[in-house]
Assembly symmetry: C2
Homo-oligomer: 306 residues x 2
DNA sequence: CGTAGTTACGGAGATCGTAAACATC
DNA sequence: GATGTTTACGATCTCCGTAACTACG
């Protein structure tokens, strides 16, 4: 049995059972792959691909099980390489972070600045996406860690570590009637057109929940993927914005005013997600600890093995 | 990276860092192994073995981590082969059970009879040992499942599934004074010389506990590894025996009498132990279910993934 | 000087790519 | 006939075993 064979099988499965496509991705010839798959089938004594004549149409039942184990082995092979790289030079490598716009734009900059000064040899990569995409990226190994809020699907493969709590604020144009309210209420907010996050994002569901619990149906005139877009349209006078407090910067956002809305909505929790069973490089632990000081190496390792 | 290289490294570690010995065990040449280890070190970019001149004296720090991952990969490779074998013919294969004498002699016979009638193609193997050895056998892959009582060391690698509860009885020669007692007490038992299980076995510690809680120091004149030995010496009049109730068979043991002692000692629990992450063949689930009907395939799989 | 590990080298065997045949749509 | 898979075959490379060499006790 060869690791190469498992890699071939894995790639075929990943490419929707198209052997030629898999060959292309792996920069090798298509017949070579076919051959190795046959050898693997022969060695294990079972067919792993369902063939109709000369067309691959499915994965057999044993193939499903084999695929799961093969994936784990390939993952472990990656881990081995990382261990090597880590001990060669603790401070050289790359770190891929899958995250949402809000984190990338408001929460991460200071951490990334500190980190890249401390580890100048580490190539940082930010991948943006919605929570579903972020999870995908971590599970496929494309990204090392995920940073996002709530909506990250629960899954055994993924270890979630709570980092920060945050809440929302309402932003308006200067001179808006809401600014002179003594205490902000959901009822008053619901009177105005609202601009907020897109549904898949950043605890948008918590926002809806707060309104429905008060039997209010807010008039959401625009949803956006990020806070910058929200601010832009509030400036244009399309409505009031509801977004993460941390995304409002009084210095930069001189044309806007913010009102804290922490008492109106449940707080959201920003979390870090890691693919269970992945070997993390030393600086990855350092990065996480910079972002959330309570998550030291020991705590993280314990959570990953739990 | 080749699985072969990992296997070589694993075997070197297992053979106490003796490369020649590892070569012998693997039926290959010693230089071949040296070479492959060097290639592995080169590929990973770190030394994994500590060499003093031309002598291997230790495993480097990264080597330790690499070894752990390599072990898991090799284990997965075994799993793959099992998956294959399982689907080729669900009813042909082998099943190794590591267990204690008491289980092998009194609890298992009926199960094994039923099982071997149902799966005539499965080669059954019973490995006897004390609880420590049993655990070793399962962890090393020498045995597929362990069946024993209590003393099995708790370890993350091992999934323990409770099967049966059982208790003890006192056995004596016919006409013994204890037989005419209305209710058996620890105090009366302690008046006689006692023959019971060896310390490492079958919940012997529970027995000690019961006596010390009553401030009694029983006079244990002989300890044995199995119930048959205990019975033999009770017949000879060396003392009274304390052993598992299930090990007394009125038909067979006509020269002895048993008195239930369930009220004097905490019950012990017989458990099945499985190496977490091992792929179990279909008939293994069947065997376990025959032994403990409440442990169906679903329940077992859930416990293994927990 | 015996034991244990590395280097050197040659042969067997495997892997991979090209070319061609073949099956489905 | 287009797309995609398997078979055939030859060049290359890898792996393994023997033999010689080297270091340590």
């Amino acid at each position: 049995m060869k690791l190469q064979q498992l890699r071939y099988f894995y790639e075929i499965a990943k490419q929707g059972l198209n052997v030629s496509l898999a060959a292309e991705k792996l920069h090798t010839s298509q017949p070579g792959i076919s051959k190795q798959i046959q050898l693997l089938e022969e060695e294990l004594g079972v067919d792993i691909l369902v063939r109709h004549g000369k067309r691959v149409t499915g994965i057999t039942e044993p193939g499903q099980t084999i695929l799961l184990i093969a994936e784990r082995m390939l993952h472990d092979m990656e881990n081995l390489k990382r261990v090597g790289a880590d001990f060669v030079n603790e401070t050289v490598g790359s770190l891929s972070i899958a995250t949402t716009h809000t984190q990338a734009r408001y929460a991460l900059p200071s951490v990334i600045k500190t980190f890249s000064e401390r580890y100048p040899g580490v190539q940082l990569r930010l991948h943006q996406g919605n929570p579903t995409q972020i999870v995908e990226m971590v599970l496929s190994g494309e990204a090392d860690i995920a940073i996002a809020t709530e909506a990250i699907a629960l899954c055994d493969e993924l270890v979630m570590l709570p980092c920060h709590q945050w809440n929302r604020c309402v932003i308006t144009q200067p001179g808006h009637p809401l600014l002179s309210e003594r205490t902000l209420t959901l009822e008053r907010i619901a009177e105005y057109p609202i601009i907020t996050y897109d549904f898949a994002y950043s605890g948008r569901s918590l926002l809806n929940k707060a309104f429905t619990e008060h039997n209010l149906s807010p008039n959401v005139v625009l949803t956006a993927i990020d806070a910058d877009v929200i601010k832009t349209y509030v400036e244009l006078g399309l409505g009031i914005g509801i977004m993460a407090s941390q995304a409002f910067d009084p210095k930069r956002d001189r044309n806007l005013r913010a009102i804290d809305a922490g008492h109106l909505f449940e707080p959201s929790t920003t979390k870090i997600g890691i693919h269970r069973g992945t070997y993390l490089r030393g600086y990855t632990y350092a990065f996480i600890e910079m972002f959330a000081p309570h998550l030291d190496r020991n705590t993280i390792e314990k959570a990953m093995n739990a």
